[in-house]
Symmetry: C2
Subunit: 340 residues, 2 copies
DNA sequence: CTGTTAGCGCATTCAA
DNA sequence: TTGAATGCGCTAACAG
């Protein structure tokens, strides 16, 4: 039977209320009393039952998620996970509000953030575009006491409390490790297609990829990164043009979205098979894997990211800091055969 | 404010106790009353607060984990995760007991299982060896009302409630997908090293691997599976002999344990580089990846498996059946750059 | 068959 | 600065 507040109240010779005050660091307790309680806590090895605590204090934390709208499958998937979290809200003492802005529109994100009233927001999670105005808007919220976390794409210069996403440099390196082993051993070019260089996740991937390719697979040179604006049509256009102009392309690394456009180009193409590594499991990339157009897909688990964001925000709102090691998001690799 | 038992008691016009009886499927309630309560539940969209429920019924479920002892890193890792779960026990209303038996010793497992008193065990998780006597011991427990789950390696013919592990056929296919792409495009042999063919997980991997290799990479033929008994010394011996006898080996698929022995052989070897795919992230395989001896390691998350086993056992002990979709364990692929 | 009542471990008024 | 009392949502005796 593990000790309860009653036990420590008894051994410390004080009342429940006083124990509670000490446990929660509330003021209005004599130092002498504090010491007595803390000693009892140590002596009995007391550890608070958080579920009972949450039951008693029925406080609800209003959280805001800011995501891009538009057809991007990955982002829609992310939105789905946020909605899933909303259904769990009652259990997690959260009240989640979902807001969307135009993709890659930094000003729209900043406006949304600026429109938030710190009085009725306990925390904010956003997919950031790395721009001065977004940094300013985030820092404003933080200075007003509202914890902010970035989701999927980070905002390095800001005061955000945490980044809920993968190590994108490592993801790029991983992609290079696969590409280098997959591609023919004859010299050639690898085409790199990104969404936008204003997204810090895309930047990171491109640099990790280039790094490992140069060091470990010097017979393959990099073409790009081209910007496909995470848009299927644009991706189709830039990739089509690059393939037409370069007959020595042996592989493609698609590190952003718009994979539908990529599949259209390569499935229509004749000539030797390309090695293709892309990001994010979506209906399109799953199909491309199954049909053999993609060799591998690197993925980040949206569900984990959303749940992590909530945990971190809640912890910060309660004044604790999260166990960072626990919040690491894995870089998943999927082939056709280990798709979930 | 979401509805509580009080609300549904009020709208159904019954008492709290009756609501509780219906909610928990306890008998001694008229069908008419049951209907009234269930209707109120649906009407109000009631969903039970499990944390409050667990607080109220402070029942503790004694669970038993049966693992092999010995130096196998993966199994020690699994044991570590079980011990982690023991530290969480107070919160999860479990009391976990850890028992170990000699590796691959089916009789020892059966004896351990037979020694369990159903009165003070609410569930059992074991790493199975696929043998008639183990099946019999498991079925005995099940017939006595004790739910059993298999961990890591399944027991297909038994009455176990669930298998907490990966789809090993798919894991073998995944390994083949990697091996086929990694290995030189010239014809050659791929050596397959297993632990024991009495382990259903090893069987599954070998068959999935052979399947995809034959269909997709016919220029590579399979040598083996050799049995390394999950033992570093034995692995070193059989692999060393195979390499000496076959100059056309281009890759090795190590689907069992004993990777330390494998690394010793291939790091001492001269000649063209081999493509190596192994299983389970351990200190050894991690080092082998980092140093370039292994190209990829396929992994199953022990932590997930142990937590899943506990959830399933608890659910079964409460008479519910677990959400199988939620309990799927992923097949992780790690290269040097995405190691956790 | 059904209802009353007293907790589970903790937080939080309201008094003292 | 401290304590007594009440309730969070649910379960479980114990009566009726």
């Amino acid at each position: 039977m593990r000790p309860t507040v009653h036990d420590i109240a008894a051994t410390a010779g004080v009342s429940l209320a006083t124990v509670d005050r000490v446990l929660n660091g509330r003021l209005g307790v004599r130092q002498k009393t504090i010491d007595r309680v803390e000693q009892a806590v140590r002596a009995l090895g007391y550890v608070r039952d958080m579920t009972a605590a949450n039951l008693a204090r029925r406080r609800v934390y209003p959280l805001v998620f800011v995501l891009p709208d538009g057809p991007n499958s990955f982002m829609r998937n992310l939105e789905y996970e946020v909605r899933q979290a909303m259904t769990r809200s009652p259990h997690e003492r959260t009240a989640i509000k979902l807001m969307t802005t135009r993709p890659l529109d930094a000003e729209a994100i900043a406006r949304t953030l600026d429109g938030l009233d710190p009085k009725d927001v306990a925390g904010v999670a956003l997919v950031a575009v790395d721009t001065a105005c977004v940094v300013a808007a985030v820092d404003r919220l933080v200075s007003l006491g509202v914890p902010v976390v970035t989701l999927v794409s980070d905002l390095p210069g800001s005061r955000r409390a945490h980044f809920c996403g993968i190590d994108n440099v490592a993801a790029g390196r991983t992609a290079a490790g696969l590409m280098g082993r997959f591609a023919r051993s004859t010299p050639g070019k690898v085409l790199v297609v990104a969404g936008s260089m204003r997204l810090s996740d895309h930047m990171g991937r491109a640099s990790g990829f280039a790094d490992v390719m140069a060091r470990e697979f010097p017979h393959l040179s990099i073409l790009g990164p081209l910007e496909g604006r995470d848009d299927a049509l644009a991706v189709r256009r830039v990739v089509g043009a690059a393939l037409a102009a370069n007959s020595d392309i042996v592989g493609i690394y698609s590190l952003g979205a718009g994979n539908r456009g990529l599949v259209e180009v390569i499935s229509a193409r004749t000539g030797p098979r390309l090695s293709v590594v892309a990001h994010e499991v979506t209906d399109y990339s799953r199909k491309a894997l199954a049909e053999g157009h993609f060799d591998a897909v690197i993925n980040q688990d949206c569900g984990h990211e959303v749940r992590s964001a909530i945990r971190v925000l809640l912890a910060r709102a309660d004044g604790l800091d999260p166990v960072k090691a626990q919040e690491r998001i894995r870089i998943d690799i999927f082939l056709r055969d280990n798709l979930p």
